[in-house]
């Protein structure tokens, strides 16, 4: 049995959480970092996160800005830790493969191009 009795549609309430002053700022900042539209990000967040995680989104984003840095410039630029541990939008396994491929590409060619492709793959992973 996987269904619940009295299951409610939480989308409207989740949207209300995301459109409060501080959450809206956080959503815009995350969307800007990922390079996707605010509306699309809101849709993804509503689908994937529970209400508690949405409420805490702004704090997690702020903590991620401070602490998500393992010293590697490539992973920091891609937001590997930020988008898996702090704001868990991407599966850690998928992020790991994106990071290692980007790192390999940047060693063999121009770093900007490698990072741009890495970011595009992260966008795909977020929107999938």
């Amino acid at each position: 049995m996987t269904g619940y009795l009295y299951e409610k549609d939480l989308r409207q309430m989740k949207f209300t959480i995301l459109t409060s002053t501080r959450h809206d700022e956080a959503v815009r900042a995350i969307a800007g970092r990922l390079g996707i539209s605010d509306a699309k990000l809101r849709m993804v967040l509503i689908r994937r996160f529970d209400m508690s995680l949405l409420e805490n989104l702004e704090s997690r984003w702020a903590m991620g800005q401070q602490h998500a840095d393992n010293g590697d410039p490539v992973t920091k630029e891609l937001g590997c830790e930020l988008f898996t541990r702090f704001v868990p939008l991407v599966d850690p396994g998928v992020m790991q493969s994106i990071c290692s491929e980007t790192r390999a590409m940047s060693e063999n060619g121009p770093q900007e191009e490698a990072l741009a492709r890495g970011k595009a793959r992260i966008r795909e992973a977020v929107l999938s």
Partner: protein
Amino acid sequence: MKKTVDVSIPLGPVHPCWKEPVRLKCETAGERVIRAEVELGYMKKGIERIMRGRPWQEVMFLAERVCGICSVVHNMVFIEAMEEISAIAVPPRAAYLRVIVNELDRMASHILANFSYCYTIEHETLAMYLLNTREIVLDNLERITGSRINTAYMIPGGVRFDLLPEDAAAMLADLVKVEDEMKRHVRIFETGPLIALRSKGIGVMSREEAIRSHTVGPTARASGVEESDLRLRHPTYRELGFTQITRTEGDNFARVMLRFDEVFQSIDLIRKCVETLPEGPIRGGGLCKAGETSYAGEAPRGELTYTIKTDDFGRVLDIAIRTPSIMNIEACAHSMIVDAASIADVTSTFISSDPCIACNER
């Protein structure tokens, strides 16, 4: 939530262990909890929206109605934010009186949280003892402010009532009683073998997890997060030589014991305030002006932040309240409860993080 296992167990929204309605959906494999999801929305007040456009004189009463347990600190943080915007100075005597009332409120909140925990693990005797002791604390809050819950004690530039010498003497006598009773309760909690079985090593949250989800207050301090008590930065508390209490176990036992320790610390702080209470006025006066600030104070459950924007007449144009339960409930659901060995541990772990749903939903 993506279903990964066969059995999903919803706890709540109406549950004997919950003080307020919330629904926890637990995905389980046998008795083991794989993951949990929190469903809110049973008591949304929309209080931030109600506050917008109103003068500060109305908003200060609304602010303390965000939470029925730690209402004093909501009043304090809102008023101190208004004072920061308007550069209003507080007389030293009023600053000390604020600490006394705030610490009484913290004691009442911590004792209630530990009552809930003991009740959840079926130690009703200790739970009732704690509730009885809490009454003494609330009586003292009433003696100073005239009210037990919604006190509206602090106003920009001071406080509403002075502490009379006879009230101070009665409060100190009551604090001796509270201290003695609390020592006995702590002994019962510390030495109870069944309490240890239900609490030690249960609902463990590491320091890293606590930082990641920005856990605050006793929940963070029980996981060893240093410098997480905002009283360390508050000028009056600094004058009083406040130091933070920290534990490192990060389990249910640590969280409850830390709150017990903080009750004793609050008693000491109140005594120190009464002993060194400066003479002088309790109201300095001042006008609330236009401005914008983000001000944080240490509530019983942790960091409470008010982001306020006001106009020339002191009307609140925009306000956002970040309560400690927002972070603590999320950390509890996604770190502490995950991998719990039994569904019975879910309720006790959830209550050990002292969740306040009224604060969370605002």
